[in-house]
């Protein structure tokens, strides 16, 4: 139980995933929603690396984690560009108030 093994890492990532989902569904600010998505991606990465460590498949899991990090960087850049455009158009970034695509 106290000996740390694969299960502990998977449980940590499951809790982190749930916290990320909670952030995505409750926050109003679009930037905070992005932070929730980053938490979810991090929890997925923990799973990849934990299985790479304990599963004896070589390093493919770590490569997948690397690709996830790269995609997260691209996603954050694009999403923030979109958020800036939304702010220019609507003067706020609350996701529950923006319900049409143009003025």
């Amino acid at each position: 139980m106290l000996q740390v093994g694969l299960t502990h890492f998977l449980t940590l990532s499951a809790i982190l995933f749930s916290l990320g989902v909670y952030g995505v569904v409750t926050r109003k600010n679009a930037v905070m929603v992005l932070m929730g998505i980053e938490l979810i991606l991090n929890s997925a990465n923990i799973n990849f690396i934990a299985f790479a460590r304990f599963g004896n498949f070589g390093y493919s899991g770590q490569i997948a984690a690397l690709f996830v990090i790269i995609l997260a960087a691209a996603e954050a850049a694009i999403a923030l560009a979109i958020v800036l455009n939304i702010y220019k158009t609507f003067a706020n970034v609350n996701v529950d108030e923006i319900d049409h695509l143009k003025d």
Binding site: T7, T11, S18, Y22, V25, M35, A76
Partner: protein, 165 residues
């Protein structure tokens, strides 16, 4: 409990407590700074899983890149003179119940499944093997991701550019 277990619990506590504050604090700037601690905690977890290169990449890309981008996003979408940068929350009760159920389900799946594990000795360094894999088995994905980053760079710049009136 050896040192490995103690370090795991310390890093897990840092990660989860700061992640909790990320999703519950009302101040967006505080959230961004708690996210910093979450990323560092996750990097520590990667080190414990013998993924040294990924841990360094995590710190460089997430803390050095994504977190700064998020902070810029906060600064540019709130009036700076407004010290009190707050954000509202919606659907707190249904969201708590739903994510609580989700967390219980996923954690119990993780906990009760008989995982086939074959732990091997922790490698000295993973960089050599990762580099070999990136240029042999995963070379196509590697090239595509380079292209994707270029597209994302151009796309982000053209989306965020100020339109000419």
């Amino acid at each position: 409990m050896n040192y490995y277990d103690i370090m795991f619990y310390i890093f897990a506590a840092i990660t989860l407590v700061s992640a909790w504050f990320v999703v519950t604090t009302r101040n967006v700037i505080y959230s961004a700074f708690f996210l910093l601690f979450t990323f560092f905690g996750v990097a520590g977890i990667y080190v414990l899983l013998a993924a040294d290169f990924i841990a360094v990449v995590q710190i460089m890309v997430y803390v050095g890149g994504i977190l700064i981008l998020l902070l810029f996003g906060v600064m540019l979408t709130n009036t700076i003179t407004n010290v009190d940068i707050r954000t509202g929350a919606s659907n707190l009760l249904p969201a708590s119940i739903a994510t609580g159920i989700l967390m219980g389900a996923v954690v119990s799946v993780m906990w009760y499944t008989e995982w086939k594990i074959q732990p091997t000795a922790a490698p000295n360094t993973t960089i050599k093997e990762l580099g070999r894999l990136l240029l042999t088995d995963y070379v196509l994905v590697f090239e595509l991701l380079g292209l994707l980053l270029l597209v994302a760079l151009i796309g982000a710049a053209s989306i965020a550019r100020r339109e000419k009136e």
